[in-house]
């Protein structure tokens, strides 16, 4: 077994964790669109809350991505 090859394989497996963040961001964006469609005058408030929600959902997938990047470039 080649250790470099195994590290690359691990990087690929770690990047699967990005899936969860994508689903989370999709749900946040979809619900925000529903809320704006129901109440268009509250668009500004909904948008800023949405961006905060996306930031929280996104960071979990970024942790998976950092593991992948570390395996690719540092190990």
């Amino acid at each position: 077994m080649d250790p470099i090859g195994m590290a690359f394989l691990g990087a690929g497996v770690a990047a699967v964790g990005v899936l969860g963040g994508g689903i989370g961001v999709g749900i946040v964006g979809g619900k925000a669109v529903e809320a704006i469609a129901r109440q268009p005058e509250a668009k500004g408030d909904i948008m800023s809350t949405m961006i905060i929600g996306i930031a929280f959902a996104e960071v979990t997938s970024l942790y998976a991505l950092i593991v992948s990047i570390l395996l690719l470039f540092v190990v």
Partner: protein
């Protein structure tokens, strides 16, 4: 391929070698640019605003509104200068990808420093507003059991602020380098939308997110 910024020069003080990297040089340049812009744009302000002054006032009012709506009127005097400086500085650092230099914020040392500054402000505001006793009492809410969790939260908040900005910018840098590597001499039109997305859209969104999260965390830590 390298993910750490290139080193420009080194100097040694009492057997300790310090290396100055590209991200520090870019920060110096950005500081000089901001100082020059501020001095140029705020010359002869008047009661009746000129075109230039109207734009500056819109910009300042944006930060005034952000603090006033999210934190409250009593925070305006202390927080608008700090949050405004933070936002402008991070914004300039993220946007340097547009002129061909990798953003300084793809260096984890830069974002870690920014996150430590944010953490000091978040906890310092809570201590000033509630007093030391109130701050320590707030750690044991809702019940004393949860004290370790609250202490861990004090560490994870700046950690997540730091990693969020760092990873988002690093992914942009890596993706652009891979694109240019794959295209070779034929890199004409294809990189333009990618530059637009990574160096403009993501950069501005991440600036907004960093500033906004600092404000939100300050608010929650004061209310605890």
């Amino acid at each position: 391929m390298h993910i750490s910024p290139p080193e420009v020069f080194q100097f040694t003080i009492s057997n300790q070698t310090y290396s100055v990297t590209m991200s520090i040089i870019m920060q110096w340049v950005i500081m000089a640019v901001i100082i020059a812009l501020v001095l140029l744009l705020t010359r002869n302000l008047g009661k009746i605003p000129s075109k230039r002054q109207t734009v500056i006032e819109m910009f300042v009012n944006m930060f005034n509104k952000l603090i006033g709506e999210n934190l409250g009127e009593s925070y305006k005097k202390r927080f608008v200068p700090f949050i405004g400086t933070l936002g402008i500085f991070i914004g300039f650092m993220n946007l340097t990808g547009l002129i061909g230099f990798a953003p300084s914020t793809r260096d984890i040392n830069v974002t870690a420093t920014l996150a430590i500054i944010a953490a000091v402000v978040i906890n310092g505001t809570a201590i000033i507003r509630n007093g030391m006793g109130g701050y320590l009492h707030g750690l044991t809410k809702p019940f004393a059991f949860i004290l370790p969790m609250n202490i861990i939260e004090k560490v994870t908040v700046p950690l997540s602020l730091c990693l969020r900005l760092f990873i988002n910018m690093l992914v942009g840098v890596i993706f652009m380098e891979l694109t240019y590597m794959a295209l070779g001499y034929f890199a004409f039109i294809i990189p333009i939308p990618l530059h637009f997305f990574f160096d403009l859209f993501v950069a501005l969104i991440q600036t907004y997110v960093f500033v906004m999260l600092t404000v939100v965390f300050t608010k929650t830590s004061v209310e605890e």
